[in-house]
Amino acid sequence: MAEQKSQYTGLLGWVDERMPTLMAEYKKHLSEYYAPKNFNVWYIFGGLAITVLAVQIVTGIFLVMNYKPDAALAFASVEYIMRDVPGGWFIRYMHSTGASAFFVVVYLHMFRGLMYGSYRKPRELVWIFGCLIFLSLMGEAFFGYLLPWGQMSYWGAQVIVNLFGAIPLIGPDLAIFIRGDYVIGDATLNRFFAFHVIAIPLVLLGLVVAHILALHDVGSNNPDGVEIKKHKDAAGRPLDGIPFHPYYTVHDIFWTAIFLILFFAVVFFAPEMGGYFLEWNNFIPADPLTTPNHIAPVWYFTPFYSILRATTEQFMIWLAVGTIGMAALVILSIRNAMVRGAVAVGTIVLLLGYFTLDPKFWGVVLMGVSVLIFVPLPWLDHSPARSMRYRPAWHFALLMVWVVAFLWLGYLGTQPPTPAGTLVSQVLTLVYFGFFALMPWWSRMGTFKPVPDRITFVAH
């Protein structure tokens, strides 16, 4: 086989002759990856999520060097890191702040997707990989939260693992299987440690690669929601595209600097973030015999936790009404007799389940659905325009109502339950699910503005 003469010289040429993949991939993903030139500030959060992931992995490696995954030693070893390991407090606060920062940027990244229709065809796989990343991230955060072995670590894990006990028939055995003990104990801590430092990070990294590869195959969406690949120059480059490197690398460096100012302001000046990033009760060592007055998960889980708590016996009636309404709507909208029959049977089975099984079980189901409901979004949205810019103003208003419901559920989840709070969270739960469930109908209603053929771009 004749040797290929590289276009590069020197060391790069030497490498290129032996491993042409390197420069080919560099071009494909950076210097010749054409991104729409009209990205706005909402497009920084994907890059920031990667930055935070890197921070978590690097700080995590240093933490593992000194952390002891042992129920008798874990709490003290974390404080040992904070006090006796040189720079340990810095590493630990970066990791704890990074956990919250990860969710902040991922939530904003998802909101961008909702706003500009980034999940629409042909980006369904990009979106689904993203949803799986979000799911893994929640697992990663949950497993990691047990490790400091404080009161909130312990009782938070106890509450969440007990939820699996609500599953009919296999529940109680499943909960014991997960814990490896009858209560959260040393065995649980060790397996959560294994999940947190090996299993989930591997899955997470794989999914991030899949997310980016899938994105680079179809190309990025943009605030106008139009395809830049429709108009190309003679060389096949999108007219409205610009090479990711250097244009978006310098752009992202600037915004990363702004992000780091906020991030390190928390790390250096308010690492507990008022008890939201590091909960006060978690400075008390885990005590299986003393239940804290108020067990609340960390802020990023509270919207989903609120939905779980909203599912009371009384709420099952609301849920039944909602389910019947949905079924009626589907049956009236779809002419296929098979589908109609299946929906009718499914509804009856659900209704029977609502009033025979423990509402706690349905709370767990709803909490799971509230996380997974993002997955079918590409098929729920039937709007002729991707971006909110060209959709009726009330579509955006609906999205904002949903965002308010999400944030408000989050707030209520941090608070101890009250009758009024439960009532409000029940209404908000219906808003949360209604937004998605009714989307196939509302997303095609209203007057749409004409979508331009090319992106709108004003030179800086």
Binding site: V250, H251, A265, Q415, H460
Partner: protein
């Protein structure tokens, strides 16, 4: 489906107006700890002295090494000569001889480790330093309690008043407001009782009167019989809390000092990155 829209609206309004009030029940009045002490080396050293003399009989601080106190201006010799009892080394953590099981038998509860106490006692409602400052100064004689002492910040506390000689005798007046339901009329409301504890802990309780405030709570006033001693103890308690805050988070000072430089660097870096970005994007039309 008994929910009416009116009830729903009322509930929404209630949550909007006062989410936190609904959440927390009876509120406790706490004194503000003078936070300037945290930066005062003399105060921290006085706190360390009080801590070694009064606290470590019962409380450990097993995550804190003695030589951590170098950070508040003490050298190993001073730590060894003035603070450590027994044969501990300066590199050891602050452990105690008493066995937790025995302590539980004596006090009803194992005295908590004090390593991270100001953080552990913080909540969404109050700061741990204020709580501990109030707790240390909140003791009053109560003849009805097993130790002869009671505390406004922690009613029926198991810990006796270690600093009673330092603080001197005091009289306490405690006003408590309770939710009350009249057995006969069924009328629900709030009643106020005023209890005066004299310096020997003998209580004089007033008849319950209808309270004007519609919320459970407790207020208190102390009358020191030796005001000069009580004032001096207030200063000592503030120093001790400053020391507890220091051992809870010894990196706090370093953290803020480095943080300022990090912010300055990132500020400059942001300006450079901003201009760099502008140069690249200048020709993008």
């Amino acid at each position: 489906m008994k929910m009416t829209f009116a009830r729903l609206a009322a509930a929404l309004a209630a949550v909007l107006v006062s989410g936190s009030v609904l959440a927390s029940g009876a509120e406790l009045q706490l004194d503000k700890w003078p936070a300037a002490r945290a930066k005062d080396l003399a105060a921290l050293q006085n706190g360390a002295r009080l801590f070694a003399n009064y606290c470590i009989g019962c409380h450990s601080a097993s995550l804190v090494r003695w030589n951590r106190l170098q950070q508040i201006g003490l050298d190993d010799r001073q730590i060894k000569d003035f603070l450590i009892f027994g044969n501990q080394k300066v590199g050891d953590t602050i452990k105690i001889a008493a066995a937790p099981a025995q302590q539980k038998a004596w006090f009803g509860k194992t005295p908590p480790d004090l390593s991270v106490i100001t953080r552990a006692r913080t909540s969404f409602d109050y700061v741990g330093t204020d709580y501990l400052y109030t707790l240390l100064r909140g003791y009053y004689r109560d003849a009805s309690s097993p130790t002869g002492w009671n505390n406004v910040a922690y009613p029926n506390i198991g810990m006796p008043h270690i600093f009673w000689e330092a603080q001197g005798p005091r009289e306490a007046t405690i006003e408590a407001i309770h939710a009350h339901k009249d057995e006969k009329t069924g009328h629900a409301g709030f009643v106020k009782t005023v209890t005066v504890f004299d310096q020997d802990g003998v209580a004089t309780r007033s008849e319950p009167t209808t309270a004007t405030v519609g919320r459970e709570g407790m207020t208190y006033t102390f009358k020191p019989l030796d005001p000069a001693r009580a004032r001096q103890f207030d200063a000592d308690a503030a120093d001790l809390v400053a020391f507890l805050a220091f051992i809870t988070d010894p990196s706090a000072g370093t953290r803020v000092r480095i943080g300022v430089w990090v912010m300055l660097f990132l500020g400059l870096f942001t300006i450079v990155a901003w201009r760099l970005n502008a140069v690249y994007w200048k020709n993008v039309k």
